[in-house]
């Protein structure tokens, strides 16, 4: 008897994420053309991450990215609904992997971590991140 309500809940949960499920949808939710244009013009890159683990408030994500060497100030964009974070950074100061590691460390107390989705190194080119 318990199966039906549980199945219904599972179905509803699936429905809730049906729109915004794709990787590109997550990227679209934090894509800011002004940030992208400014970053690429300076030779910087733009990285897009999925936020894994426990729910993290927007403010906590903003705090986590603030002051990290290499991340461009004011470039963080967050979509709490689609659990996505993006920012631009200077690859000469820090690699994507280094930034990922540092941010994971800052978020570990909140039982959250980041999975890189795509990186933009040049206009109109969203590259898959190889780890």
């Amino acid at each position: 008897m318990k199966t039906a309500p549980i199945a219904a809940l599972f179905f509803l949960a699936g429905e809730a994420v049906a729109c915004g499920y794709c990787v590109e949808d997550k990227i679209a939710s934090t894509y800011d053309h002004a940030i992208v244009t400014r970053a690429l013009a300076r030779g910087h890159h733009v990285a897009f991450f999925h936020v894994d683990g426990a729910p993290v408030a927007r403010r906590a994500l903003e705090e986590a990215t603030a002051g990290v060497p290499g991340i461009d100030k004011g470039s963080a964009r967050i979509s709490p609904d689609l659990l996505t974070l993006s920012f631009s950074f200077d690859p000469a100061r820090a690699s994507l992997l280094q930034l990922n590691t540092q941010l994971d460390r800052r978020l570990s107390a909140r039982k959250a971590s980041l999975t890189p989705l795509r990186i933009m190194e040049q206009p109109a080119d969203l590259k898959t991140v190889k780890r």
């Binding site: 794709c22 949808d25 679209a28 053309h33 933009m120």
Partner: protein
Amino acid sequence: MRTILLAAVAVPLLVACKPGLPPDAYDVSKMDFKPKAAKVTAERNNGAFAEGAALSTGAELKKLDPSPVKTVRLDTTHKVIEIAPGVKFSAWTFGDQVPGPTVRARVGDRIRFVMTNRSDEPAPVPQLVAAPMMHSMDFHAAMVSPQDKYRSIAPGQTIEFEFTANYPGIFMYHCGTPMILEHIASGMYGAVIVEPRGGYPTKADREYIVVQSEFYVKPSPGKQKVDGAPLYVLDGDRLRAAQPTHTVFNGVHNGMVKQPLAAKPGERVRMFVLNVGPSKTSSFHIVGTIFDRVWIEGNPDNQFRGMQTVLLGSSNAAIVEYLIPEEGSYIMVDHHFANASQGAIGLVSTEAKPPAKDLEHHNMQASATPTDPDAVAGKLAFESKCLACHSVGGGRKLGPDIAGATKRHDAAWLTRWLKEPEKMLQSDATAKAMLKEYNNVPMPNQSLSDAEIRQYLKYFQWIDSQPAGSVKPQAGGH
């Protein structure tokens, strides 16, 4: 035992009959699901925003292109469009128009689709259009992996993919990038018509497409102007509350009243009707005729006869076929008249310019519209809340005619009257006299805010600034 015997006889008989049965048009084993991965590149198209022999850009539909492969380009753009007189809206488009061009194909046809995200192209006045953003294409006519074909692409990117049209119908296409509601409400939608493999079972003299949609707009916070008129942008609050400011056919408030669709007496009209919403239902009706045939979702296998109205939820469609019985202007409306009052009206007319008297009869004339944002808001509120009891220039109803209200009363009196009618009825001599004159039917307190009252007054003042008899509300009945 008897059952087994019967089955033993019946099964060979059924098998023997099989060659005589018509082929199943929906035999999935004969459908084409040939998957081919979508391709995303940084190659930017700088040519036309919409290309393909299978495309129609207006209400009148081109005949089916016989080619079994349809190459279709629909690029995304951001531009300002006029959705109603004086209402210039910052839209997002497919093919640089709203609705996007209609794709026409036949069951079994292969659609080769290509789209460049050109939302980053310089606009004549950049601050009037939305910032570049990611977009995507979701074809309801296709059976493909959304994660592959419907992925969002960044400004400057191009996506190409293919699909085969397996089912006949009228199918919506739209941008599927979050927030989808905002992308659709900003204008990113259109129709794909898929004819049955053997064509339609009737012969029509005219074919038109009518796409119903809603707009949710507000004056831009930055108070930008376009050619002297205020720029309007998406109103997120109204959008989420499903409270449109305009409900329209083919992207324009009362558009097909000003430019009626042509038909002659005795002709059979085939009309492809798609309600894209995004959030309202359409009760599509044509005054003066009856739908001889209705093919729900545009598929002749889903047939009704002799219908007055067809009910279409968001992303539902139908083909309606009807005869034009005699000379006249036949009025297309969403019979949810609140929607019709917001612009979902059009004409199919035997004359190039329909006579105004016909429209007067139905009280649906495309009338002058204010451009001041407060007056526009007041007009919309008035038409949705007050028309049951008040006319505009049509004489008294349950309450007085609104035309002339600002000449009969000053602004302070009208403000108090709209704010606290019940108190006025106890203390104000004019209010008491009105109550008596109108059979003791009191003016209800609508709990209007000061801003709303200001908007009503702006609208009333605008009405009284127009030539007598030239203003009519956009709602009506018959």
